[in-house]
C-alpha cells in the first residue's frame, strides 16, 4: 500500500550534492584552519591580561599588588585551560551515536559546563581580584585614610560582585533548563 504523503515527500525537486573526496578534504582543512584561528584568537585574548598583569607582577612597587598580579595571571591560565578542555570535549563528539544519545550527550555537556562556570571560570579569578582590591585600598589608605580608600574601591567591588553573581545566576538558570530537557528526553527513551 502506498502512502501519498511519503510519495509527496520523495517527489520533491532536489539535486543532491555529490562532493568529491578532494572537495571534502579541502573543506575539512578549511574548517580545521578556522577552528585553529578561533582558538588562537581566544588564547590571544587570554594572553593580553597575562602580559599586562605579568608586567605588573615584575614592575609594581607594592608587594600586595605584585601578589595580586601573580594571582590574576594564574587565574587567567586556569580559565584558559578550562576553555581548552571544554573545546576538546566538543571536538570529540560522537556524530554517529544514536540520535537521542547524541542529543542527550550534547545537553549534558552544555548543562555541566554551565553548572560549573563558577568553579572553572569565575572562582579562579576571585583571589586575584580580591588581592587587587585590597592592594588598591591599601595604597589609597596610606595617602588619604580608610574612608577615602573604601569609597575608592566600593564601586568596582560592587560592579565585580554584581557581574560575578549575575553570571553565576544566569548560568544556573540555563543549567536547570537543560536538566529539565534531559529529564524529558529520558522519559522518551
Amino acid at each position: 500500500m502506498t502512502d501519498p504523503v511519503r510519495d509527496l515527500w520523495a517527489s520533491q525537486p532536489i539535486t543532491p550534492l555529490r562532493p568529491s573526496p578532494e572537495e571534502l578534504d579541502r573543506r575539512a582543512h578549511r574548517l580545521d584552519r578556522r577552528v585553529r584561528l578561533r582558538n588562537a584568537l581566544e588564547y590571544g585574548a587570554g594572553a593580553i591580561p597575562i602580559l599586562v598583569f605579568g608586567a605588573m607582577a615584575i614592575a609594581h612597587v607594592e608587594p600586595l599588588m605584585r601578589l595580586a598580579s601573580v594571582a590574576i595571571v594564574l587565574g587567567v591560565i586556569v580559565v584558559m585551560v578550562g576553555l581548552h578542555r571544554r573545546a576538546g570535549a566538543s571536538r570529540a563528539e560522537d556524530w554517529a551515536a544514536p540520535i537521542l544519545d547524541h542529543h542527550r550527550a550534547q545537553l549534558v555537556r552544555q548543562r555541566d559546563a554551565l553548572a560549573s562556570v563558577w568553579r572553572w571560570y569565575l572562582a579562579p579569578l576571585v583571589p586575584g581580584l580580591a588581592l587587587l582590591f585590597a592592594g588598591v585600598w591599601r595604597m589609597v589608605y596610606e595617602n588619604a585614610g580608610a574612608a577615602a580608600a573604601t569609597a575608592r574601591i566600593a564601586p568596582p567591588v560592587l560592579i565585580a560582585l554584581v557581574f560575578f553573581v549575575g553570571i553565576h545566576w544566569l548560568n544556573r538558570l540555563g543549567a536547570r533548563r537543560l536538566s529539565r530537557e534531559i529529564a524529558a528526553l529520558d522519559r522518551q527513551s
Partner: protein
C-alpha cells in the same frame, strides 16, 4: 549496501568507497533532510555540505557494527539537529501530540497542490522537537520501526507508537488522495 572490504584496500580508499556508496544511495534523503531543517535554500545547501563533511570524517571510524545506512542517517540527523538548535533557539518546538491537535487547513485552495502541501509539511516538521522531527523524517523516507529505532535510539515499541501518531496526524492534515 556492502560492508566488506575489498582486499588490499587502504583506509583512504575505503573511506572514499563508503562515502560514495552512502552519497549514491542516500544523497537524496540527505538533501531532503537539509531542506526540512533549513528553509533558506543557500543555508540548506551549506547544511547538506556540513552533513557530507561530518559523514566523511566519521567514516574513518566506521567499523561496520551497524549498517552504513544507519550510520549515515545518524550522522546526518545529529548534524542537522545541532544546526537546528543553533538556528532556532527562540522557536517554540512541540511534540507530535501538540502538532496532532493543530487544526487541519480549512482553506481548500491553499491545501490543494503538491507544492503547497509540501510547504505545509515542511512547516509542520519545523515545529517538532528534534527527536520527533527525526522520527517523522525517517518515516517519510520509508524506513520501518526497527530501522528508525536503531537510528534514533528509541525502542521499537516507542517508535511504533510515534509512527502511529504520525500516520494519524498526516491523514488528518493532508488529504492528498483528493488531488488530481
Amino acid at each position: 549496501m556492502s560492508r566488506d572490504n575489498p582486499p588490499n584496500e587502504t583506509p583512504c580508499a575505503r573511506r572514499e568507497r563508503l562515502h560514495a556508496e552512502a552519497a549514491q544511495t542516500l544523497g537524496p534523503a540527505l538533501a531532503r533532510l537539509a531542506r526540512a531543517v533549513e528553509r533558506d535554500p543557500d543555508r540548506a545547501r551549506d547544511l547538506e555540505q556540513d552533513i557530507h563533511l561530518a559523514l566523511w570524517r566519521s567514516l574513518e571510524t566506521f567499523t561496520g557494527d551497524c549498517a552504513l545506512a544507519t550510520w549515515t542517517y545518524r550522522v546526518a540527523h545529529n548534524v542537522a539537529a545541532s544546526h537546528a538548535v543553533r538556528g532556532a533557539r527562540a522557536a517554540s518546538l512541540v511534540g507530535l501530540d501538540a502538532v496532532s491537535e493543530m487544526p487541519a487547513s480549512d482553506d481548500p485552495e491553499r491545501a490543494a497542490g503538491a507544492a503547497q502541501a509540501l510547504d505545509r509539511l515542511h512547516a509542520l516538521i519545523a515545529r517538532l522537537t528534534p527527536a520527533d522531527r527525526s522520527v517523522i523524517l525517517l518515516y517519510l523516507e520509508g524506513l520501518d520501526a526497527r530501522q528508525i529505532g536503531e537510528i534514533t535510539g528509541l525502542t521499537v515499541n516507542h517508535v511504533g507508537v510515534k509512527v502511529h501518531r504520525i500516520k494519524a496526524m498526516l491523514a488528518r492534515q493532508f488529504t492528498l488522495g483528493d488531488q488530481p
